[in-house]
């Protein structure tokens, strides 16, 4: 019997396949590390389901006293809460673990090391880690979205679904841009571990549709733009989206990403290093 031969790992030469490969390696390592704590993972998954039920129950209290809040019925509100869970889960699983490490990267000089590696530092810094604890949240959130649609007894048309997919993708890109922007800021501020409070707070504001808030907060949240995170995708699913958002939302997301990338590069130019 010959010994199994392991082919040397072939790293694709360039382009997105190279990054897919690199991130694949990083994520496998992160997953393997966290699978060591299976009981904890199981408990955290149960807790995610608990918080989902908690949020749905909490919202139901409003509807003891009214049929609709700013035109949103209970079922429609559940769609928004479900989307909040989805986005918050993505934030916690993909963005937060990286943002939290940023302070250490800068203080310990790990960033110097990352900058010398032959891949784009922004991608490596912002997407390298993945947290398993909240990986079920996006799926659970989408289940609640389904429940909400069931309560409203409305089946989205294929066009609605396409619009929804586009707006949800824009929301995720927007959130990612925010994270990159915060990372750039933490390079300038040297550390600033608490910057993820900002991303937490903005997503938390998207727990309810923006119309549920009074003025001037409502307008502010359209401007900021928290409205793009959950309200717009929910409106797409419910078939009452102002078509303007179909154009505006991806544009804003792409512009935000470009701005954040510029900010990141700018902050690196002012970065002086910690280990050298």
């Amino acid at each position: 019997m010959t010994a199994p031969s392991y082919p040397p790992e072939r790293v694709p030469a360039g382009g997105w396949r190279r990054y897919a490969h690199v991130l694949g390696v990083c994520w496998r390592a992160a997953v393997a590390e966290q699978l060591e704590y299976r009981a904890d993972l199981f408990a955290k998954t149960l807790m995610s389901a608990f918080w989902l039920g908690w949020a749905a129950l909490g919202v139901s209290i409003y509807f003891r006293f009214t049929g609709t809040i700013a035109g949103w019925s209970y079922g429609e509100m559940l769609v928004v809460v479900g989307l909040f869970f989805t986005l918050n889960g993505i934030r916690q699983a993909f963005f937060e673990p990286n943002l939290q490490r940023m302070g250490d990267y800068i203080r310990r000089g790990t960033l110097d090391y990352i900058l010398t590696q032959p891949v784009d530092a922004q991608i490596l810094v912002s997407l390298r880690h993945v947290g398993l604890h909240n990986l079920v949240d996006p799926a659970l959130g989408l289940v609640l979205v389904g429940v909400g649609l069931g309560v409203t007894e409305r089946a989205p048309t294929p066009v609605d679904l396409l619009a929804f997919a586009l707006l949800l993708l824009s929301a995720i890109v927007l959130l990612y841009a925010l994270i990159v922007g915060l990372m750039a800021l933490s390079v300038l501020l040297v550390g600033a571990d608490e910057l993820d409070t900002v991303s937490f707070s903005l997503v938390e504001l998207a727990r309810f549709p923006v119309q549920a808030y009074r003025q001037p907060l409502q307008t502010l949240l359209v401007v900021v733009p928290v409205a793009l995170l959950t309200t717009a995708p929910a409106q797409a699913l419910l078939g009452r989206l102002d078509p303007l958002w179909l154009l505006a939302s991806p544009l804003i997301a792409v512009a935000a990403l470009a701005l954040a990338t510029l900010g990141w590069r700018g902050s690196l130019r002012r970065y002086t290093g910690a280990s050298a």
Partner: protein
């Protein structure tokens, strides 16, 4: 020079523990003060009650006051609830959980003061600094916003202060007692979050208890959670009659005592299982 502390405080009575406690609280105050930026962020990110309130205000504007609660009632209640949450919310469990895993608990066990008092002192100092930041803001808001009004005399203010102190004590003892489960599960934050999450449905956090379904409210009245949040907030908002106030204090004191006893029993059984992770 710090006063000498007896190595066996329980054998010599409570006085040395109190002396040590004063020192521990002072140390905690200084730590909290040097991380005041972090505490400001904490306050800023603790806007959840105000978010819930914002939706209630929309409900009032559209469908009229639910169960008689006007805009002013919601403002008064949720502002009070946010403050009470900041100055009582038990963060002890996170300290405790980390100490158990990192092995820092071992060094706390070596000190001549029972860890119960060490954690309580740590939390108390931080809460005092938090209160020093948040309570003036609260007073300022009540003074500046005509819609936010508390029609409270000196007597009610003193009672509210006492209720907040009781809320802190109960949160702390309850957190430490639930934390003891870590001796058996090596991991406490999940258990605590489940405990807290269930409690928040009946504490006045998710909604004022007057607005939740009747059957749930009658359960909430006898459970410990209302004493940690809803009771002080209802008290300052002037929603309680004298008999209800007395009953509220009675229930809070009873639960604090009960958890104290449970803690004493649980500690003696649990600490024998402690295997000192790391060292």
């Amino acid at each position: 020079m710090p006063e000498p502390v007896s190595p066996r405080p329980w054998a010599r009575g409570l006085a040395p523990t109190l002396v040590a406690w004063r020192g521990l609280v002072r140390a905690s105050l200084q730590v909290a003060l040097s991380y005041r930026g972090r505490m400001v962020l904490w306050v800023l990110s603790g806007f959840f009650p105000l978010l819930l309130m914002a939706v209630w205000l929309t409900v009032v504007a559209e469908a009229g006051p639910p169960a008689g609660w006007t805009t002013g009632d919601f403002l008064a209640y949720f502002a009070a609830a946010a403050v009470v949450w900041h100055v009582t919310g038990a963060h002890i469990v996170w300290e405790w959980d980390q100490d158990m895993r990192s092995g820092d608990l071992s060094s706390k066990l070596l000190l001549p003061v029972h860890p119960f008092f060490q954690y309580a002192a740590w939390d108390f100092g931080h809460r005092v600094v938090m209160a020093a930041g948040v309570v003036p803001l609260w007073i300022l808001a009540a003074w500046a916003l005509p819609a936010l009004e508390y029609d409270a005399g000196v007597g009610r203010l003193i009672l509210t202060g006492a209720a907040i102190l009781l809320a802190w004590a109960l949160s702390a003892v309850m957190g430490l007692t639930v934390g003891l489960l870590g001796f058996w599960s090596t991991q406490t934050t999940n258990i605590w979050m489940l405990w807290w999450g269930l409690g928040s449905l009946v504490s006045g956090w998710v909604a004022p208890l007057e607005l939740i379904p009747d059957w749930l409210r009658s359960v909430a009245m006898v459970l410990p959670f209302r004493s940690t949040l809803g009771f002080p907030a209802e008290l300052i908002s002037g929603r309680l009659a004298a008999a209800e106030i007395a009953l509220g204090f009675g229930i809070g004191l009873a639960w604090t005592t009960a958890f104290g006893v449970l803690y004493a029993i649980g500690w003696r059984r649990g600490v024998r299982r402690f295997q000192a992770v790391a060292g």
